[in-house]
Symmetry: C2
Subunit: 391 residues, 2 copies
């Protein structure tokens, strides 16, 4: 790490960590959740909304921005911060996940990966070096290395992929030279403890500015995911932030903080909001349900978000049923406010040394609907990729 | 008019009038433009946006709200103001326009009109009395009478329809008894001066709280519309507001204020914004155009709206091209800000006794693109109705 970045762990409660990661565009209080702005925009929102919501970090997608409007255009327009008018911290993924899930006809070699655009069928080639050039042009505060994303349940594939992912990580580290941009490595290895530990140790020696756990929430059960974190986190350097990619269900966040994770990103809160599914402390409710037709209450009684301060469930249901765009926005505001409040509550609980009690109380109250879980698992297994890609 | 409403004309400059219309939810400074919130929501916006934009009056559509969520539900939820959380003035149309343009298989008798819902094919019957009951249940500050909307170029149809429209106006007046709600009559008669004058005189004698000019901007040329206003406005009572329904092109507003109109509503500024077409003092520009791909300027250099204060044309073009919902909202904010600024400028010019000079300067600068006009005319002639219906 250089003078632009600083990680400080203030308190450890069990495995849960209260920390701060300072970046050129501000400090991130951790554990933190990053809303996803796939195309340099958190869908339906504006920067002033993100500020009002207390968002500390936004994720943008390298693959999508490379496709359109192009990283070179964004660089000419002053980089991502200027382009999207967001002056806070930004993280970009490497595009690897999208290439392996979304693009057609990819061809993988040790050099890199050739693939067809999901937009116009044109052919592209990503290498560790080209992805570093793209991310450096985009200019986020945190860049991610290019990795290969195998099926987490396929041991053979994970063994074969891990060596290549590690070589790519070394090449990314060598190619990256922008001092005002942190570079995070990505631990792979599926659900296999020995592979995860090997990966964590290998990458740890490369001295990245932070470490992501990749390749989870894409097919395995929640129990397998939690068990993988149990094995992986202790093998990661203690003096760097730990980032669980693509995870954002409230129960998963609480369970992952409990296992030592500091950062999260996920399209889940924003995507389900656009489907009418909103978080409450008791679990998700879907406002399209007929039982809300004349419900004068806000989505969540004690919530201080604009949506809950202003509108009834009855009105929001009307907007969702009538397919009004405003509904998608008002739902997004509530769900992100819920996430930001959850993260603040988690930080407060760790600071007070009572995270275990917080976790137990949260999980006892927050009902995970079986339908929602089944839906999630189906989506993860099959088309999670194309869902995720559209943010 | 009763104690809830008061119309005061402060200044007349040529035919242009500077006035105030006081309603139970606040005073409307006129000439005024009302954004359209078809389904009790101005698409992509929230009440706080409308307040920030300086909107003084919102239109909502009786036909659409009767269909969903239903006027009785809205009444049980406390009426439109409470339901949509907008505490300023609201006007509802009568639904007549939508019945005649949008619904299928309508059957017209002197009693009323029977039609099929455009949503589920169910059969409904509107009479002057039932429409008054619906509008009184919805609870806007201003309600409109039920009228018949003929092709403005068909003299025979207009002659036949006018008698029925006038009887319906009488029946609406008789059925309306909510003192905190103004009731406006609607002048019909197509582009025919004798019919318009007859209609204006007949309705004038019924002593409505205001008068709308209906049945324009649906097939005639701009010149025919302006000529019709030349004949109609002088025949209307001078001590009541005059409302030109469904007109919102900036050049039409300036020309209509010049002829004595005080109020406007139209989906145009919000609808074209969702297509990427934004107003500038020089005319419309479409942000989807490739020439804006790297344009670092705001949409309009001197504009103070959030969109122009914050984003480049390049970024907005990217959002439009990528079909991001946020683009629709940012465009809507700009176009409504343009309209609110135009109306404020018009009021200022009338107050200073220089409206004619303002009009000439505005029209000399504001280029009406032939393509836009042709498109408008096609849309007006054929499917304007279904466009309007969706707000």
């Amino acid at each position: 790490m250089n003078e632009h970045f600083h990680f400080a762990c203030h308190k450890v409660d069990g495995q849960a960590r209260l920390s701060t990661f300072e970046t050129p565009h501000g400090a991130i209080q951790m554990p933190a959740f990053a809303p996803v702005g796939t195309l340099a925009n958190v869908k339906t929102l504006e920067p002033r909304d993100l500020t009002e919501l207390g968002a500390q970090l936004i994720l943008a997608n390298t693959y999508h921005l490379y496709m359109r409007p192009g990283h070179e255009l964004i660089e000419r327009m002053g980089g991502l911060h200027a382009f999207m008018a967001w002056d806070g911290p930004i993280l970009t993924d490497s595009g690897g996940y999208q290439v392996f899930s979304l693009a057609d006809q990819r061809k993988l070699t040790d050099d890199g990966v050739t693939f067809r655009s999901h937009i116009d069928g044109s052919i592209h080639h990503f290498t560790p070096e080209s992805v570093m050039a793209i991310e450096q042009a985009l200019g986020p505060d945190i860049a991610m290395v290019l990795d290969e994303c195998p099926d987490p349940l396929d041991r053979g594939y994970n063994m074969a992929a891990l060596a290549r992912t590690h070589r790519w990580a070394e090449r990314c580290k060598a190619a990256h030279d922008r001092p005002d941009q942190a570079l995070f490595g990505i631990v792979q290895g599926g659900i296999f403890p020995d592979l995860r530990q090997k990966s964590a140790r290998f990458l740890g020696e490369l001295d990245f500015d932070g470490y992501a756990v990749g390749g989870l929430a894409v097919g395995e059960t929640k129990e397998q995911m939690y068990a993988t974190l149990d094995e992986t986190c202790p093998a990661l350097p203690a003096d760097k932030p730990r980032y669980l990619m693509g995870v954002g269900a409230p129960e998963d966040i609480v369970e992952s903080v409990h296992r030592g994770i500091d950062m999260f990103d996920c399209v889940l809160p924003t995507r389900i909001a656009r489907n009418g599914s909103l978080f409450t402390p008791e679990g998700r409710i879907n406002l399209r349900n007929a039982r809300f037709a004349e419900d004068p209450r806000p989505v969540q009684e004690d919530c201080t978000c604009y949506t809950c301060r202003t509108f009834s469930r009855a009105y929001l249901r009307h907007l969702y049923k009538a397919k009004e765009i405003t509904a998608l926005r008002l739902g997004t505001i509530h769900n992100l406010h819920f996430m930001m409040t959850l993260m603040a509550d988690i930080r407060e609980a760790i600071a007070a040394g009572r995270f275990d009690a917080f976790r137990e109380a949260f999980l006892a109250r927050f009902q995970i609907s079986n339908q929602a879980v089944r839906h999630e698992q189906r989506a993860r297994r099959k088309a999670a990729m194309s869902d995720k890609m559209t943010g």
